[in-house]
């Protein structure tokens, strides 16, 4: 369903979702076309865009968001600059973290993503920390921490949720279940993952993570309740793994997404056809927008603009300088005397 917001804002959500898709397609092409440009393996957010974008749409600029190894989408969703994201992914001096973080740890403090951990449960307790700080400072800022189902297998998950509930911290634990972990064998003894937070008296909601309207509605309600002191809350947003993601190194197994597939699913390559038809949040959202009267030409034009901007971002990243070698020694410490 469509989110209950003005049309311009609805299109803004599409724009951001497309920007994430297009930027990450460049990311995958960086890897496929340039040996060694991305150092080591990497992860993408393709297929989960509805969640990150619709959640961040319901947040304020000064709210904190924590993300994971799958961070590119969240950074762009929270308002991050795709140029600086792509530049960071390939370790350029112009990247968000001047090439220190790489694909796994993109942090964008200017949009409220102050630190990114690639340890699957690494940010859960840190997020409780920013929520605790807001409580102490009597600020209205809340914290949303995105994590995957795999993070629930780590001990810190239990400790962070337990303390968050004991202290009634203003935060939302937003679990994005992309079933990648499940596909590699059972990782959790709980039959329903939400049973774990429920045992700690944390209210949970399970939603369809590819439906923009559902995610947005859940996010707006959760944010409102958390700001009113009813937190912490726990949401599980379910998505289906994008076929290109079924590798340690993502691949564009069906080429780049053609939004024409929204209207003609059979035009998509066979190996990705079912996924784009049933599980692609962007194509589903496009169909819903069209159903509500947004013209196909307008949608195609919007995509063309986004593609242009993503191409520019990729060119910017590729043309950006690598950091000076001696910069390796900078920033070990903030203080004097070192």
């Amino acid at each position: 369903m469509l989110p209950a917001i003005p049309r311009e804002q609805q299109l803004g959500i599409l724009r951001k979702m497309l920007m994430i898709r297009r930027a990450e397609e460049h990311c995958i092409r960086f890897h496929a076309e340039h040996e060694g440009l991305i150092r080591g393996h990497f992860h993408v957010y393709i297929g989960q865009e509805a969640t990150g974008v619709a959640v961040c749409e319901s947040l304020n600029a000064d709210d904190y968001v924590f993300t994971t190894h799958r961070n590119h989408g969240h950074v762009i969703a929270k308002g991050g600059d795709p140029k600086k994201v792509l530049a960071e992914i390939i370790g350029r001096a112009t990247g968000y973290c001047q090439g220190r973080a790489g694909t796994f740890h993109v942090a964008a403090p200017d949009v409220g993503i102050i630190h990114t951990s690639a340890i699957v449960g690494g940010c859960l307790a840190l997020a409780a920390g920013t929520a605790y700080a807001a409580q102490v400072k009597e600020s209205t800022a809340l914290t949303v921490v995105f994590f995957g189902d795999g993070a629930m297998e780590e001990g810190v998950f239990y400790e962070a949720l337990n303390i968050a509930k004991l202290w009634q911290l203003p935060m939302i634990f937003w679990m994005e279940n992309n079933y990648r972990r499940t596909g590699r064998g059972a990782g959790h003894a709980a039959t329903e993952l939400t049973n774990v937070p429920k045992a700690l008296q944390i209210e949970t909601t399970v939603i369809d993570g590819i439906d923009v309207g559902t995610v947005h509605k859940t996010a707006v309600e959760s944010v409102q309740r958390t700001r009113a002191g009813e937190g912490p809350l726990f949401v599980e947003a379910r998505t289906q793994l994008w076929p290109g993601n079924a590798f340690a190194m993502p691949k564009l197994v069906g080429g780049i997404t053609d939004i024409a597939w929204a209207w003609n699913a059979s035009a998509a390559p066979e190996n990705v056809r079912e996924w784009h038809k049933n599980c692609d949040p962007i194509l589903q959202y496009i169909r819903e927008l069209e159903g509500a009267g947004v013209g196909r030409a307008e949608i195609e034009q919007l995509d063309a603009h986004v593609c242009q901007e993503a191409d520019d971002a990729a060119r910017f990243a590729l043309a950006s300088p690598l950091p000076e070698p001696q910069a390796a020694l900078h920033y070990a410490f903030a203080g004097q005397g070192h």
């Binding site: 942090a107 951990s117 690494g122 700080a133 239990y158 920033y331 203080g335």
Partner: protein, 325 residues
């Protein structure tokens, strides 16, 4: 007129003075002094700042992460982990989040959190409550390692860390120092990080000593003095940042150096300091560098076993005699 107080009381005084003016300082699990003298002062601190004090569940990983996140968001939390070995439960958050955030973000995110631990061979702590992880944390770029030996240093360094530090800090108090008394200057004062202090001047031999090893080294120096040996005792006070020039200057003066720290021999603090002196002060040396620390075994329980591995003053004296031979 300096006051006499215990190391633990000096720490509590520092916290009280700073917290009165800085609302950003919050405390997790403030015990600081264990069962030592000063319980009334600790109780008063807890009462005065109750709103800024949390007693989290037994979840070191969770609450060290929360303190780290809170520091990223502008608070200045002091986490009392109590026994240093409990910090092992929190290593992923201390080492792999707090320590790396400033570098990872290219200098954008600061993490002014303090992890306070009581470390070392406390007497009967056995294999799990006698830990000395200062070399592990010193080997973690991004962490400041502070290990004062006197009440005056403890207060001045704690004030510095609370007032001016922008980096995560591990603050080491040796369990056996917390109840030790000493003169503490009146009023507010700070001791800069990375500034060593000569605790006793001498010219035949330099003893570099940290924390509990400082009083042990001073006791050894007194014994050596009766044998006609003039030992200089220098306390780096902080390992990170480290006052390398002061250590090298002392070695240059004496030509002989013994390093003593209550961590294990292998890759311990003494080993790390020895490497620096070998690299940068070799020309000053008239004898091999010697170390007095803990042999590479888990610290045992029974008195004779524990005493055997503890780097006591007698072992420092014996090693000094070897060095001067």
């Amino acid at each position: 007129m300096p006051q006499h107080m215990t190391y633990g009381e000096a720490l509590i005084a520092a916290l009280d003075e700073v917290m009165e003016h800085d609302q950003r300082v919050v405390l997790f699990n403030p015990s600081f002094i264990g069962m030592a003298t000063g319980q009334d002062k600790l109780a008063a601190l807890r009462k005065k700042y109750a709103k800024r004090i949390k007693f989290p569940p037994i979840a070191e990983l969770g609450f060290c992460g929360i303190a780290t996140g809170a520091a990223m968001a502008g608070l200045r939390p002091v986490v009392d982990l109590s026994t240093a070995t409990f910090s092992y439960e929190a290593m992923p958050q201390i080492v792999n989040e707090a320590a790396i955030a400033y570098a990872n973000s290219g200098g954008q995110t600061t993490v002014p959190v303090v992890f306070y631990v009581k470390f070392g061979i406390r007497g009967g702590g056995g294999v799990q409550h006698s830990g000395s992880p200062q070399s592990w944390y010193w080997n973690t770029p991004g962490l400041q390692v502070v290990m004062p030996s006197t009440p005056a240093d403890a207060k001045g360094l704690m004030r510095t860390v609370l007032l001016t530090s922008a980096d995560p800090t591990i603050f080491f108090s040796h369990d056996r120092l917390v109840d030790e008394r000493g003169a503490v200057p009146d009023g507010a004062y700070e001791i800069p990080l990375g500034k060593a202090d000569i605790k006793r001047e001498g010219h035949d031999l330099t003893i570099i000593a940290t924390s509990i090893q400082v009083p042990r080294a001073l006791a050894a120096a007194a014994i050596l003095a009766k044998e006609g040996v003039s030992a200089e005792v220098i306390d780096p006070r902080t390992l990170q940042p480290l006052d390398t020039p002061a250590l090298l200057a002392s070695v240059k003066k004496t030509g002989r150096v013994l390093i003593t720290d209550e961590s294990h021999d292998n890759c311990g603090v003494a080993a790390g300091l020895a490497a620096i002196i070998a690299d940068e002060g070799f020309a000053s040396l008239r004898a091999p560098i010697k170390r007095v620390s803990i042999p590479p075994v888990p610290v045992p329980y029974a008195v004779p076993l524990e005493d055997f591995v503890t780097p006591l003053a007698e072992r420092i004296v014996e090693m000094a005699r070897v060095l001067l031979r």
